[in-house]
């Protein structure tokens, strides 16, 4: 049984309208995602707009120019590691008073004779 016997290629089936749909459709997909690209490329700068204005007012044009520019992942990782190491080095407040507390050990099953006498096993 050949399921493909009835295949009949018909070049006339593709009209100009069909071609237009394919071309316009593909272009609109590109356009939609191009809009997203353009918007999100500018977004960090838009979000840093107030900060830049403030820095300019404070007379720091160099910092203002840098505001909103991307911080590379490696830099972030280095900062995070430095903070982690710094915090792990910190100690709680210590009194600096050394104490030796005697361990209260009333008995041990290994050395208490009375334990062996009173806790014998029953069979």
């Amino acid at each position: 049984m050949n399921l493909f016997l009835w295949i009949n290629l018909d070049p006339g089936a593709i009209s100009t309208d069909h071609l237009m749909l394919a071309v316009i459709g593909y272009s609109v997909v590109f356009l939609a995602l191009l809009l997203l690209y353009l918007f999100f490329r500018q977004l960090p700068k838009l979000l840093a707009f107030n900060l830049r204005r403030k820095l300019r007012k404070e007379g720091e044009p160099e910092k203002a120019a840098m505001a909103g520019s991307a911080i590379p992942g490696e830099v972030n990782a280095a900062i995070a590691t430095a903070i982690y190491l710094y915090l792990s080095e910190l100690h709680d407040h210590e009194t600096a008073v050394l104490t030796i507390t005697k361990a209260a050990k009333t008995y041990s099953p290994w050395n208490s004779k009375i334990y062996n006498v009173t806790h014998f096993r029953r069979f």
């Binding site: 394919a22 459709g25 191009l34 809009l35 997203l36 999100f40 490329r41 977004l43 960090p44 590379p72």
Partner: protein, 378 residues
């Protein structure tokens, strides 16, 4: 005696056909692939089992209300969610709540790869017309190249409901076979040096950017292609639930319980819709062939466009063309394939994070393409 004979006439043994046996074997292959090789198990197990349910023979037209195409049957009620296009947007809600768009926001030029990789949708649309399919049928077949099951089901439920079974099975099959279909095309279209390109690590993304992405993403794409709103509206809504950090409970439900329930019902009913009597036709076989071609063309489109972009990019901003193949949605399998191929060329080159950007852009791209097709053809 008459009672026994009557009982036998109702049994599967009396009504089995070669078609039923073939489809049962297909269902078993799906289940085997899912369990043995873990190819998309969350989809292939429900679909495979659905095929077994849909192709267990019984006496049709006896008013038993058993088959998925019989009014009043339980399966028919569940199938309405597929036919009316209810399940795909709910799946998109869950996907939105699961997806982290950070890599895409951090390197937005990779969004364009998600657009380029929709090439297969439109070339296959023309190919299907050439083979004699009608205009709406061709658009529904073409969308298989978007490698996005819910989008394919959604568009075909609107344009060609009679082809839903074939299109859904083709789309999900090829999504499961991404690790087999894509690598040869990726290697064919790239040089060894291109595969070794190391990309700049992505920058960190602020919470503000993450919250603004779903809002402006919806407005920008929705205004341009309103037909994609049922899918993209839910996708971006789900993402806002996740990124706003104030609706954690809703996001958790969307990405866990809800998407699981819908996936179970969708997979099972789509599988059951492949009843041999309606599914096993030459037309279905052609849809499978066209779907494969569509998938390949989309992969090639993404890879080639990445190469074109490299012509205009500086040395330090160059893109590894392998990640172009991830533009065909199939999240996250195609991104994983890009990672594996990258590692084969250079064991220290990890592309997964970069590949996730075109991967999620591909989801948006295929939904926009579906919206455009709907706007033109409905």
């Amino acid at each position: 005696m008459e009672g026994i004979l009557r009982f036998l006439s109702y049994s599967g043994f009396a009504n089995v056909t070669a078609g039923h046996v073939i489809m049962i074997l297909v269902g078993l292959v799906f289940i085997y692939l899912a369990i043995r090789y873990e190819y998309e198990p969350l989809l292939l197990v429900p679909i495979g089992f659905g095929i077994l349910i849909g192709n267990t023979p019984f006496l049709e037209h006896a008013g038993l209300q058993l088959g998925i195409y019989e009014d009043g049957s339980v399966l028919n009620y569940l199938y309405q969610g597929v036919l009316k296009g209810i399940y795909p947007p709910l799946i998109f809600l869950g996907i939105g709540a699961m997806t982290d768009f950070s890599t895409l926001i951090s390197n937005p030029k990779l969004i364009l790869l998600g657009a380029a990789a929709q090439l297969g949708i439109f070339t296959t649309y023309l190919g299907a017309l050439l083979l004699g399919f009608s205009n709406p049928e061709s658009a529904s077949i073409g969308i298989i190249g978007g490698a996005d099951g819910p989008t394919a089901i959604f568009l075909s439920s609107r344009l060609a409901p009679h082809l839903i079974g074939s299109i859904a099975i083709a789309a999900y099959s090829y999504m499961a076979l991404v690790p087999i279909i894509q690598p040869p095309i990726m290697r064919l279209l790239t040089t060894e040096d291109e595969r070794k390109i190391k990309m700049k690590p992505p920058r960190s993304v602020t919470k503000q950017e993450k919250v603004l992405f779903p809002i402006f993403g919806l407005l920008l794409t929705g205004f341009l292609a309103p037909g994609s709103l049922p899918l993209l509206g839910m996708l971006f809504f789900g993402n806002l639930l996740k990124e706003s950090l104030v609706t954690k409970r809703l996001a958790d439900t969307a990405k866990n319980a809800m998407i699981d329930i819908v996936t179970i019902i969708l997979g099972l009913t789509v599988g059951a819709s492949t009843q041999a009597t309606t599914f096993l036709t030459g037309q279905s076989m052609l849809i499978f062939v066209l779907g494969a071609l569509s998938f390949m063309a989309s992969t090639a489109g993404g890879v080639l466009f990445a190469k074109v972009m490299n012509v205009f990019l500086s040395e330090e901003n160059r893109i590894n063309p392998l990640i172009g193949a991830a533009g065909v949605s199939a999240v996250p399998d195609s991104a994983r394939v890009a990672q594996m191929e990258g590692l084969k060329a250079d064991p220290s080159n990890h592309l997964l994070m970069h590949a996730m950007a075109p991967n999620v852009a591909g989801v948006i791209g295929s939904a926009v393409a579906a919206g455009i097709m709907m706007s033109f053809l409905m």
